[in-house]
Amino acid sequence: MNKTQGEVFVRLADVVDRLDTDDGSAVLVATSQGHRVAVLSPLGSALLDVLDGADGHPIRLDALVRALVDRLGRPVGVDPQQAVWEAVHALSDEHVVVAES
């Protein structure tokens, strides 16, 4: 994890509802353009679980990585920091999380 990533804090955006099914999970988010649904990857779903447990408080990215490794185990052949960073980016693009430095 580089210095920039380590200083990033992540929090949930305006997530209105969540649906978990056998085929995956989705969330309903409120944006300035209205409401939209984002489908979550398994990592994204776990990431939201961690953020949801923080009661709205931002979590530092390196702490988020540790929490996800504790929850999911260390991935094989994948850098967990990079995987989480990419997941945060994807969820930020979907207005599901907010990443701030």
Binding site: V16, D17, R18, L19, T21, D23, G24, A26, V27, L28, A30, G34, H35, R36, V37, A38, V39
Partner: protein, 262 residues
Amino acid sequence: MTKERAADLAVDVQALGVTVRILVPSREMHAAVERSWGLCLAQSNGGSGEIVATVTAAAPDDDTEDALARAMPGLTQQVTAAAIRARTGSLLMFHAGALCDQETGATIAVVAPGGTGKTTVVRTLGPGRGYLTDETVGVKPDGSVVPYAKPLSVRRPDAFMHKDEIPPDELGLELPRVDPWLAALVVLRRDLDRGEPVRVERVDLLEALVALAPETSSLAALDRPLRVLADLVERVGGLRILRYHDAEDLEPVVAALLLGAA
């Protein structure tokens, strides 16, 4: 134009199951509103009931029919907005047109953003079926559909930015004769070339939620909105995307969906 006190000139219309009172500025406009909203008139639909909102029609620029016609689209938007506000939290509402089978009540909702084909599909495939709306479909938790048989908003061929509000009966449309219930939910995509056969594409549940959520009104005000939306999608056998070019090409697909055969 005969000027009247606005309060003396009211038209009560049924929209999404509630009564909205329209105050109009003149007898001429009163007559025009009654004509355009003929299928929604509260008196013709079992009485006014409680009036949940009152909207005031803007006065037309002059006495001409053209000026009256130009005042109508804004009024329709006001009524729609008032009805949606009134049903927020109690109805699942889509930006969609809807038609039903006049014997079974089986209803198809054609979901699409504004200006992308809902009205054309409804006016093309509507004669012989029950007309529910060309703009906003309201669905109750039990799957029954609440009519909003508003005038159809038809773009003028000679003025791209202007729409006329056409009375449904002038287009051969009539109210449902039996209680409508949602049997099929489709998203319209008018992206094929002329002559290409209609394509029917099924999408899985989560992708259906992604496609439908932006085409809803006040979804988040429902209790457990994603569960409600998912249950509805599953009840109608899943969401389908209809890719087409000409609305008349959709006739056999719509007929099959209403028969439950597609």
